[in-house]
């Protein structure tokens, strides 16, 4: 392993992470809900009727973020060109996996670990391990 110090961005990572934690804290303290994006998204059509509007509001806030980010003069990171078939496969796996596993990086990784949930710890270790393994295979084996 070699650490790429030139790409290492500790301060923006810490600041951005703190904002993510703050958002999750606000939602749980004032609305009593866990900020998990996969559950938030799928609940917009599978949730009960009275439980959908707040999800749309949270998604609207997220969708507004890149526009506000540009407004303050920052650049939204470009999405590196990659074969769209792979992107489709990745999307299907992420959608299917997060529903089957009841959460993603935000629900299990941030909120679950903050709740000290053993279930979320197992989920987080599993998706991190599988992410590391997948990149290893794609970049260094194939």
């Amino acid at each position: 392993m070699t650490i790429d110090w030139t790409s290492f961005t500790p301060w923006s990572a810490l600041l951005g992470g703190a904002l993510i934690g703050l958002a999750a804290a606000i939602l749980v303290l004032f609305n009593g809900r866990v900020f998990g994006i996969s559950g938030l998204l799928s609940g917009t059509w599978t949730g009960q009727a009275g439980d959908r509007a707040w999800r749309w509001m949270a998604l609207l806030g997220m969708a507004a973020a890149p526009w506000l980010y540009r407004l303050i003069g920052e650049t939204v990171p470009p999405v590196q060109a990659q074969p769209w078939m792979w992107v489709v496969v990745a999307g299907l796996l992420v959608g299917f996996g997060t529903r089957l596993g009841s959460g993603c990086t935000s629900g299990h990784g941030v909120c679950g670990l903050s709740r000290l949930s053993p279930r979320s710890l197992v989920a987080t270790l599993a998706f991190m391990a599988s992410g590391f393994l997948t990149v290893f295979v794609l970049r260094h084996v194939l």
Binding site: A24, V28, N31, S42, S114, F132
Partner: protein, 136 residues
């Protein structure tokens, strides 16, 4: 009021994803590439998020309803570590490692107008729908 809270929380969350680098697929893949030129930044994102959220969550756990809005406290009740949890997480991690997108950044980047993120988002919603149908 609780709609406004959801909106603000979503906005802060989205900005956090952008500032942290989590909404940058090539940075995500550089973080997941342990055997290459490893960029450890994203480990700090999760550490900082948990450091900020851990006390609020421990406060929230002890309350029957939320502050100010009075919404009922609705935290996950499931405790079982079962096969769907592990299998689903492994499948999610593989998808994450292929393209560098997880659900939050997919929403933010699709909203920013990136075509590939939109493709990813649609595929992800289909994958969610399939898993939802299998469950019922």
């Amino acid at each position: 009021m609780h709609y406004f809270i959801a909106l603000i929380s979503g906005l802060i969350f989205g900005l956090g994803l952008l500032i942290s680098g989590l909404a940058n697929p090539s940075k995500v893949l550089a973080f997941l590439d342990l055997a290459g030129a490893w960029d450890p930044s994203l480990a700090l994102v999760m550490a900082a998020a948990i450091a900020v959220a851990i006390i609020p969550f421990s406060v929230a756990r002890r309350r029957p309803c939320a502050f100010v809005t009075g919404q009922p406290m609705s935290l996950p009740k499931q405790r079982q570590i079962d096969r769907p949890l592990v299998l689903g997480s492994l499948i999610f991690g593989a998808g994450w490692g292929i393209a560098g997108f997880c659900p939050g950044p997919a929403v933010v980047l699709a909203a920013s107008g990136a075509p590939l993120a939109l493709v990813f988002l649609v595929a992800m919603l289909i994958g969610m729908g399939v898993a939802g149908r299998m469950r019922t």
